[in-house]
């Protein structure tokens, strides 16, 4: 429903739902070989070349970031981590910018590689000795994130004005450059990563009880952990490569899901996909229609997310131990 609503909404004005439905009917009909005159060529272009790819990409990215956040929180047994706080986002952003500047390796791959590098460094910095505490992990992630952001700044400083503009726009989180080409590059890694996570989602509860508790019931957590972190990194990196950085989204949505459907990751993963996708879509709808010009989506994530989050937090207080 939100998908349909978003399709109708846009900077060229609101298309009435009946027009939209008629148009879709006409389109479907012509696909089956029936000749029905499509009334408005402009409308068709706007719907199919501008809005639909944007909507699909937004939904995918929203779902990807939310799922990645939920997975990372479970695997690291830490409700305050997200793709951003572990450095994945910054790493990917740096990787993507690097490939924009010197196109040695494709953007997607570069974003993924540096995302992996960042999360691996964060993991090893915080896991000195036997056990890493939740606090050291977040601290390590912030530092690694900072380092990559600094590198990104260096890149921006070194790059020429034309490339600089595209890098800056892109780090602000830009859904408006969505195109079918972007959808095509992002769809495979994101769907694949989410599929892997969905298939293994029942193991997330076990992982979040701790490594020893997994071994105690006869499961080797190492492989599942690696697969999960790999998948989460892949979908985060693909999202970052496609639309830039949308901070805190991956932190907030898993919490919203948890408040709505409970802490179990089996239901939580599905909730993250649906809530993440529709929530980012709604945010994007607001950011492109509320004012004559587009507001960067990151701004709205916070403006809409924060009150909603506070409301849910007060309404059903979840019992965090320690």
């Amino acid at each position: 429903m939100v998908l349909l609503f978003s399709l109708a909404l846009g900077s060229t004005g609101f298309v009435s739902i009946t027009d939209l439905l008629y148009h879709m009917y006409a389109r479907c009909a012509s696909a089956f070989g029936l000749e029905i005159s499509v009334s408005d060529r402009n409308l068709e272009t706007i719907l199919w070349q501008v809005r639909l790819p944007r909507i699909l990409l937004t939904f995918m990215v929203g779902a990807a970031l939310a799922v990645a956040g939920g997975v990372l929180q479970a695997v690291f047994r830490n409700p305050i981590v997200d793709p951003f706080s572990l450095g994945i986002s910054s790493g990917s952003a740096f990787g993507a910018a690097l490939s924009m500047l010197i196109s040695l390796i494709p953007l997607n791959l570069s974003a993924f590689l540096f995302g992996v590098v960042a999360v691996v460094i964060t993991y090893f910095v915080s896991y000195t000795g036997s056990r890493g505490s939740l606090v050291t992990m977040v601290l390590a992630g912030m530092i690694i994130s900072g380092v990559f952001t600094a590198f990104l700044t260096v890149l921006q400083y070194l790059s020429d004005p034309y490339k600089l503009q595209s890098i800056v726009q892109w780090t602000m989180g830009n859904l408006h450059t969505a195109s079918w080409a972007k959808v095509r590059t992002a769809v495979l890694p994101i769907l694949l990563g989410i599929a892997v996570i969905l298939a293994l989602r029942w193991k997330l509860d076990l992982l979040s009880l701790g490594e020893q508790e997994a071994i105690a019931v006869g499961v080797d957590p190492k492989i599942i952990k690696l697969v999960m972190i790999g998948a989460a990194t892949m979908i985060t990196a693909s999202s970052v490569a496609a639309v830039g950085m949308i901070s805190l989204f991956g932190l907030i949505v898993p919490h919203i899901s948890r408040m709505l459907v409970g802490p179990s990751n089996a239901q939580g993963t599905w909730a993250n996909i649906l809530i993440g996708g529709t929530f980012l879509l709604l945010i994007d709808d607001f950011s492109r229609t509320l004012l004559p010009f587009e507001i960067p989506v990151g701004v709205f994530t916070m403006m809409l997310g924060t009150p909603l989050f506070i409301y849910l937090m007060r309404k059903n207080a979840i019992n965090w131990s320690a």
């Binding site: 479970a74 979040s208 009880l209 071994i215 105690a216 802490p263 320690a322």
Partner: protein
């Protein structure tokens, strides 16, 4: 019948020698209790038996198979359930979900109906079915301990290793947990338990061991007096013996001339 045989087991934690040429045997279907000072190596022994710690020297055979060769996630003839100390979780999972994680090695993906059935049966056995939707983090220490015991039980283990199951529990739950364990041995399970209260060990344990000087000594063949002396030596506390029915319990002897 011998179920676990340990020969010349040595284990170091860093440079610190924890276990040195330890020999021991545990019998099938018995309730064995291991006593010993804090840091004497009891938990390390458990980690080795549970397969968490593999970096040891010597021979640990369970049902004739070397411990390292027993693969996880495979239906082996011996299942080992392990309940460790100090468990805490950050996420407020429901009791049902926590217990369900005990079935994780039985299925790769979604739990099946028989997994749910098993969780239900075990929770009802321990009278915890009413708690199934409660967040685990809201339970009291004793309730949590019972839930974790259920989590171990749903995998239907032949051997149950418990590291201080009565830790932090009030008298009510101590007795409740131990009675449950006694019932399980009568159903053919083998239980090995680390405990700190020698009297509970005397009351419930069928075979007693004492971890001391990097070795595990069996106390079962010893006379009452010898056990008494061994414990005095191990705990470095003067003890007094108290007769209770046909059993001998101990209490610390308070010497008033210390003042």
């Amino acid at each position: 019948m011998k179920l676990i045989t340990i020969e010349k087991l040595s284990f170091c934690y860093g440079k610190l020698q924890i276990l040195k040429e330890l020999d021991a045997t545990f019998m099938r279907g018995e309730f064995s209790v291991i006593l010993g000072r804090n840091g004497s190596g009891k938990s390390s022994l458990f980690q080795i038996l549970a397969g968490v710690q593999k970096d040891y020297h010597g021979c640990v055979k369970i049902n004739g198979i070397e411990r390292r060769a027993i693969k996880r996630q495979r239906a082996s003839d011996v299942r080992i359930g392990f309940m460790s100390q100090f468990h805490q979780t950050t996420f407020p999972f429901s009791v049902f979900d926590v217990v369900m994680t005990g079935r994780a090695s039985f299925t790769h993906f979604a739990p099946r109906a028989e997994d749910r059935q098993r969780v239900e049966t075990v929770l009802k056995q321990f009278n915890l079915w009413v708690y199934k939707d409660r967040p685990y983090t809201q339970l009291s220490g004793g309730e949590r301990q019972l839930v974790l015991l259920c989590r171990v039980m749903v995998q239907d283990p032949d051997i149950i290793l418990l590291d201080e199951p009565t830790n932090h529990l009030d008298l009510h739950y101590q007795v409740k947990v131990l009675e449950n364990l006694q019932r399980l041995t009568s159903e053919g399970k083998t239980i090995i338990c680390i405990m700190h209260d020698p009297n509970l060990a005397f009351l419930y344990g069928e075979r007693l061991f004492l971890m001391q000087n990097q070795q595990l000594r069996s106390l079962s063949q010893l006379s009452v007096l010898e056990i008494h002396q061994s414990l005095e030596e191990a705990y470095q506390v003067p003890l007094a013996s108290v007769k209770h029915g046909d059993r001998n319990l101990i209490i610390p002897r308070i010497t008033s001339n210390d003042f």
